[in-house]
């Protein structure tokens, strides 16, 4: 029992020994430690060794900074200060250049046509309606905004008003891009009815025959075979010019209307 008590006291003393050596204990605990050291030879011996270790650590000469220490350091600090100022100047001038450039780039991006898929349509309509037939695609970002919007509306079919309109299927689209074979109406000499659409070849013969059935526009313009005419919603330049404000029918295949009118869709182009 006494041994257990002593061991507990030794553990308590070991926990307080540093504060005891440093004189940081309050008088009551200090007295308890002194009493324990006096009664426990092991702890007394251990305390003496700990004190010697501390003395050993504290021993040794103190040094002062060398004579030129402050002066040499001051020189190095001033060099550092110059470097820092130069760095800050470079950063400031870079920021002064980059900030307006970034703003200009953002403004430019915001005023560009919205989507990548919109650019070919805008360029095509621009070429046909604003500048007449051309041999190549126009520059999309040079197109007047209203023209580009018209083209986009025609492509998206925002307003499905039943206006006679030719929407030529993607007859010239390469098969690798189309995925499935297109269906175009088979033209007959009697009537250009879209009943029984047939698969067209890629030669463009079907396209010509369909175009023949279209009522002749007042202003005739040649069909423009621009690079982007491969789009499934290709519109002849003449029609784009005669009815620029009329939006195109929707691209999705419409359901038959209840009154029996077959609305224009992807593969059909005329009202019946």
């Amino acid at each position: 029992m006494t041994e257990t008590m002593s061991r507990t006291e030794c553990q308590g003393f070991a926990a307080l020994v540093d504060e005891y050596m440093d004189g940081e204990l309050d008088p009551r605990l200090r007295a308890a430690c002194e009493a324990h050291v006096a009664s426990c030879p092991e702890c007394g011996q251990w305390l003496a060794r700990a004190r010697r270790a501390q003395e050993l650590l504290a021993s040794g000469p103190r040094v002062e900074p060398g004579r030129g220490f402050r002066l040499a350091l001051r020189g190095r600090l001033e060099v550092e200060q110059l470097r820092r100022r130069r760095r800050e100047r470079v950063i400031r001038s870079a920021a002064a250049f980059l900030a307006p450039a970034t703003v200009a780039a953002l403004v430019l991006v915001q005023h560009m046509p919205a989507g990548r898929d919109r650019l070919p349509e805008a360029s095509r309509v621009t070429a046909s309606a604003a500048h007449g037939p051309t041999t190549g695609p126009g520059t999309p970002w040079m197109a007047p905004p209203q023209t580009a919007d018209t083209g986009a509306a025609m492509v998206r079919g925002a307003d499905p008003a039943p206006v006679p309109r030719l929407v030529v299927p993607s007859v010239n689209t390469p098969r690798s891009r189309r995925g499935v074979a297109p269906h175009i109406p088979k033209p007959t000499p009697a009537a250009a009815s879209p009943e029984g659409p047939t698969t067209s070849s890629d030669s463009g013969d079907g396209l010509d025959s369909v175009l023949e059935a279209v009522p002749a526009p007042s202003v005739h313009a040649p069909i423009q075979f621009a690079a982007d005419r491969h789009s499934p919603s290709y519109v002849t330049p003449a029609l784009a010019q005669t009815a620029p404000a009329t939006p195109a029918p929707p691209l999705v295949r419409p359901l038959p209307a209840p009154d029996g009118v077959f609305a224009a869709g992807r593969d059909t182009t005329f009202e019946v």
Binding site: D18, L56, S59, G60, P65, G66, R70, A72, L77, E80
Partner: protein
């Protein structure tokens, strides 16, 4: 004591410098004010050089490394968030710089021990050689301790700061100082006791 009572800083004491003053100087120095940093150097040079000397064992090396540590501190000061902790941060930079220096020089402490013994040669007495060897061993023991243990041992057992002053310097509570110091001394004693018995035989 009388000097402290009238507000005069005890010479060569970090903790006697008001933390707000150090913090204000650190703020100015962080904006690139060399004069403010120079003042910080004057307040800390003694401690930094002595800590470096304790860890390196050579006064010239200690000067070089202390300068390097101050330049690093000047460069990095804008990134120090709590500027009131400049002193503790500076001591940490110093121990890191010493460690880098020792790494570059290889096992400098062992070399120092041999050099010290050889250097003493005929001029020095056996007692001086023994002292130098002891110092080299203590340096070696200190260098094997974790950085935070080195700093707290240095501040308490070498600089003789009180617990309150250490708490102010390190920016922690007094109970944390007690805890750290206890662990640091335990670690040091475990390493030092065999040597203590060897060099300081029982009377």
């Amino acid at each position: 004591m009388a000097l402290e009572a009238i507000g005069v800083a005890r010479p060569d004491s970090i903790a006697s410098v008001a933390p707000t003053r150090v913090e204000a100087l650190a703020h100015r120095a962080a904006r690139g004010d060399v004069d403010a940093f120079d003042e910080l150097v004057s307040l800390h040079a003694g401690k930094v050089v002595n800590l470096a000397f304790r860890l390196l064992g050579d006064a010239t090396d200690a000067d070089d490394v202390a300068q390097e540590a101050f330049v690093k501190a000047y460069r990095s000061l804008p990134r120090l968030r709590d500027r009131s902790q400049f002193t503790a941060w500076m001591l940490k930079i110093t121990t890191n710089a010493c460690r880098d220096y020792l790494r570059r020089r290889g096992r400098r402490d062992e070399v120092g021990l041999d050099e010290a013994i050889n250097h003493a040669g005929g001029d020095a007495t056996a007692h001086v050689v023994e002292q130098q060897e002891t110092q080299a061993r203590i340096r070696h023991l200190m260098n094997t301790l974790p950085q935070k243990h080195q700093i707290v041992l240095y501040l308490r057992d070498i600089e003789g700061l009180s617990y309150d002053e250490i708490a102010t310097t390190l920016g922690c509570t007094v109970s944390s100082v007690k805890n750290r110091l206890h662990r640091a001394r335990e670690a040091f004693r475990i390493r030092a006791m065999p040597y203590v018995d060897e060099v300081l035989p029982w009377e």
